[in-house]
Symmetry: C2
Subunit: 345 residues, 2 copies
Amino acid sequence: MAARLKDIAEELGLSVVTISKVLRNHPDIGEATRNRVLKRMKELNYQPNFAARSLITGRTWTIGLVVPDLLHPFFAQIAKGISVEVRRKGYSLFISSSDEDPALEQEEIAQLLARRVDVMLVASSQMTPESFRRIEEQKIPYILLDRQFPALASNFVGVDDRVVGVLATTHLIEQRCKRIAHIRGPEVSTAMGRLEGYKQALAAHQMAPLQGHVVSIGPSGDHMGEEAGYAATGKLLASKSPPDGIFCFNDPVALGTMRAILDAGLRVPEDIAVVGCGNLSYSDFLRVPLSSVDQNSKMIAKTAATLALKLAQTKDRGLLKSTLLAPQLVVRASSLRANNMRKPA
Amino acid sequence: MAARLKDIAEELGLSVVTISKVLRNHPDIGEATRNRVLKRMKELNYQPNFAARSLITGRTWTIGLVVPDLLHPFFAQIAKGISVEVRRKGYSLFISSSDEDPALEQEEIAQLLARRVDVMLVASSQMTPESFRRIEEQKIPYILLDRQFPALASNFVGVDDRVVGVLATTHLIEQRCKRIAHIRGPEVSTAMGRLEGYKQALAAHQMAPLQGHVVSIGPSGDHMGEEAGYAATGKLLASKSPPDGIFCFNDPVALGTMRAILDAGLRVPEDIAVVGCGNLSYSDFLRVPLSSVDQNSKMIAKTAATLALKLAQTKDRGLLKSTLLAPQLVVRASSLRANNMRKPA
DNA sequence: TTGAAAGCGCTAACAT
DNA sequence: ATGTTAGCGCTTTCAA
């Protein structure tokens, strides 16, 4: 069906090897021959057979990406960015969405490993680093995105989540919030870092979380963030001293939080200021535009793609690189108190 | 490195072929042998080499998906749905995002064709069906998603865009809007269908678009929808008889439209009712919750995945199937006039 | 500068 | 029920 090296070789009275060398820009080929071959390749729209090539080189020119949820704008942005970046170098990207389900994630990782991807990128929903040990066994290099495991030495690209917590909380303090609550995420590195930053910022201002002012959305991850945020906020509003500021684990949660506040007949930000994390695409258009800590997902994508390409090219499995990017606070109406309108740059 | 059929064969004193047959559940293998082999495979965590298999079978167990923008929730939903569905059958999905750029889209299609995907799925940004002729030359089956070409007989899965236009416009008429404008999309099937439905619904009520009440967001596709919607709405507001209802090509455009209306000191929906299309994830949380025609992206994904799997399995290249799904109107505040509060089921 | 020989890991057709 | 032979399309030595 499709043209093969052999076809071209026979037509031109050359050997298959010569054609193969031209294809790969091998230096010792005569100018004349090279041009003849190139011309014919173009005419036939020759496409090398990746399967045959992989079989012998052991490389697939393929990269795997597993994210918890492609619908989440943060992960969609990462997927898009990586896809664009690696394609330029001739790699294709397998993308799969694990639906925040650790078991499903393991299956997807297994499938991509079976396909012998050159590099694996995972924003994991796992609680334990076990499945990554398995990747290591297969000697396939991998990069963790966004979430990492303290006990696992691995390549990592993400934002400094402690700083996320500090930025958000400090901002609320500066807005004169006195009772700042935190709706925390599940037991993964991102949630733990943000919680730590939250506490740290409070401590730096001689404050501390009030009783019952740190509530969790449960083990659900980003999944169902809005409903979880709504429920968690209900608990906060019912507490002895309800908060006047809430730092939410992420933006979907913050949406739920804002809805709960408004449903309770309170105002955002006058009664309760809200800050999220993720800076999702439509923040500007919300009922109350949402202040949020931007995770710089474009930069995460670019950094991860660059590292992935490097890992794909090198045979050195020892290379481990961890990149912590700086998050940035984007202030919008949800946290801007009327009596304090100086908007930070 | 990884275990091969040959390794297992030698260990067990069998031939490679026998092992291969066990692997593929070939019937004529003795129970005892089969179990011995299966056991050893499990122990070694044997993974067949896809490259070797593809080389001989001509199938890659791989499907390609090209969308204009992974960040757009509509396409993200489609990508996610298809990914989940095909993985179950052992297929992996290459996903790439063309950024609404026809040239880039062609490159991505070419790259995936070179990889010999078994089926190709494309939500195209092309104005002409030319690049699909090329897919046909390669004898790789393909499915168009969302957007199709009148002159091209192909597999298609999407929503009936004429009905989208009818639903949205009829709803605005029922809300007693008298001057209903349409912000239309570029010259692709979706935009043309919606425009047609809009006109048709007006005609059915003895109405017609007023002078200057159909404006275009230009050739940009979904890209930059908000800004384009904002600009287009500016034109409408400046016209002789400004509209009291606007049907927008899609939700991002509708966001821009609503912002423009609010910025002009007018109210949504009291002064101008707005309906979009796509029913994006956060519609409920917007400044004014947005009425929108849902394209049933989950069903599109499922239908497309099923068809793709069927195409991958059959050798019959003649099979052509077109599925037009029914869109559904979701009414929210942006189009509910105060004097007419009966909310449809 | 070119080419001949060997083989990557697997499957398909045909023995036995 | 199991094995033999051949070869998918390409790259990698190594020889000419």
